[in-house]
């Protein structure tokens, strides 16, 4: 195994360090339970944005249906933990939720990923709406009233390590030949096909992996906030996730992490100014898009920044 390389140890160390710092701040009380909700939101949004980035930023398939996959994961996990009230039930719920979302992703992806650009966006949007309306009308999901009293297992520790795992897995995928095949589709679909890449297969693969992590994020959401209703997963939720991806940079996981954190912190901060909240939020987005249309990170990752520094020193 080459798991114990210097680079991997460094990654593990920085993950543990991040966790220790945040945990320390919580224990000391600098991050109180109100801000803890912000941190939970950040974690869930990071998973959602990173997974959508894989589909939209890296593979170049414009999807507006991410909230749909999220809701599948959320409802499946909620229904399982309500019947199996234990940590094992919670973990099973997250896994089942993610797999259910993946299956729907594959089912929806095969016909719709033949479409391009705007058409794909509309098809995925329609798919998410269909899922929402189904949850709204089913008995098992309790319709518009939603599910109440979902057992709460997801705490900040679970969220943190699930988020770290999601980022590592998605990053690993992107650094593999399969990931490069996906990126080549974004770059030039016709050239990719002539280089022997089965573009439909890799589009569906990216879509399915994206759906998997969106489902997992939904499951964590259900378990942390212990209340679900179909309205939570409407069109606007998909847009929220897309905003994080575009703001962070289409094609940068680092960007998605930074943007998810920045937007969640901004929203929390603006809660004290209810009247102008949405105006400030929107104005900031417009300003970033005017002055940095490629997003905060563009397509750069955190280690590219270190490489750049090294180059200057040389």
């Amino acid at each position: 195994m080459r798991a114990l390389t210097k680079k991997n140890l460094l990654i593990l160390l920085s993950i543990l360090l991040t966790f220790a710092i945040a945990q320390g701040l919580i224990t000391v009380g600098i991050i109180n339970s109100f801000y803890e909700i912000t941190i939970a939101t950040i974690c869930i949004n990071i998973i959602l944005a990173a997974s959508l980035n894989l589909v939209t930023g890296f593979t170049g398939q414009f999807s507006l249906g991410h909230a749909g996959f999220m809701s599948i994961g959320a409802y499946v996990c909620a229904l399982i933990t309500m019947r199996m009230n234990s940590t094992a039930g919670f973990l099973l719920g997250v896994l089942a939720g993610a797999i259910a979302a993946t299956l729907v992703g594959i089912l929806v992806g095969i016909p719709t990923l033949r479409l391009r650009g705007d058409y794909l966006a509309i098809a995925t949007l329609g798919m998410a709406e269909i899922i929402r309306v189904l949850f709204l009308n089913m008995d098992i999901t309790n319709g518009a009233a939603g599910l109440n009293g979902i057992p709460r297992f997801a705490n900040w520790t679970w969220l943190f390590f699930f988020t770290a795992a999601a980022i590592i897995l998605i990053n690993n995928f992107l650094k593999s030949s399969h990931g490069r095949a996906c990126i080549s589709i974004r770059e030039d679909e016709i050239a990719a096909e002539s280089m022997g890449i089965n573009t439909t297969k890799y589009k569906v693969m990216a879509f399915a992996i994206g759906a998997f992590f969106a489902g997992a994020a939904g499951a964590l959401y259900a378990s942390y906030f212990y209340f679900l209703k179909p309205d939570l997963f409407g069109f606007l939720k998909s847009i929220d996730i897309l905003v994080i991806v575009v703001l962070g940079g289409m094609g940068s996981l680092t960007g998605s992490v930074i943007a998810a954190a920045a937007l969640a912190i901004l929203t929390t901060f603006l809660q004290s100014f209810t009247a102008i909240r949405m105006i400030v939020y929107a104005a900031l987005l417009v300003l970033v898009m005017i002055f940095r249309p490629q997003g905060i990170m563009g397509t750069k990752e955190i280690n590219d920044l270190f490489k750049f520094r090294k180059k200057i020193r040389e």
Binding site: R2, S176, S177, I197, N198, T299
Partner: protein
Amino acid sequence: MSLLTVDKLTKSFGGLTAVSNVSMHIDKGELVGLIGPNGAGKTTLFNLLTGVYVPTSGSIKLDVDGRLKELGGLKPYNVTKEGLARTFQNIRLFKDLTVLDNVRIAMHQNIKYQLPSALLHFNKFHNEEDVLLEEAERLLDIFHLSHKKNELAKNLPYGEQRHLEIARALATKPYLLLRDDPAAGMNPHETAALTQIISWIRKEFNLTILLIEHDMSLVMKICERIYVLDYGMLIASGKPEEIRTNKKVIEAYLGEDVSNA
């Protein structure tokens, strides 16, 4: 034995027949030219051979180790897997990716590890990626691009982009290389260098090459046989000297001789 046999190939777009009843063959190891005036259907023929278009009628057969394989109707990536690679008229590199990644993507069909290895980076992943990297670097070495492997493809000078495109096509390990207008936009000096590279890679990689080319001096110099298309129909074929004096070809390029009319 011909490597590629095209029989009565036709492609119509609605009322327009872009390629009409074309039959041709390319033998193993040959360097064949395909010429014709603008709009003659050369690129359409290329797109038919590489699976971008589905033929309206006719067949394209490739000899894969003695078995004849029908290519008509296959998807482009399957055509590539059978051993046909192409370069494009207007270079289509993956511009925002590195030189190295451009070549590695073309080598993807050799990768055997599956999704779990891709996600979790098992040993199998590392072993195959190491081999892939080595092969890619060897290929870049041949085209004097290895010192630029981490540069973005779009930042290379034009001539090097052309070279990278050939390297990328060769990375798919083809038997037959189709090159659409490789000398486009090159000066005479670069064209001369290109001529050398074409004959060199042909020997080195044991390749058969089909070339679309507008530079007549280049075609006449390096091609062993030439096919001439006009209005989607094959109007002549033969050795360069035969083509040079062929009346139909001269008419197609220069118009009918007025004194004969």
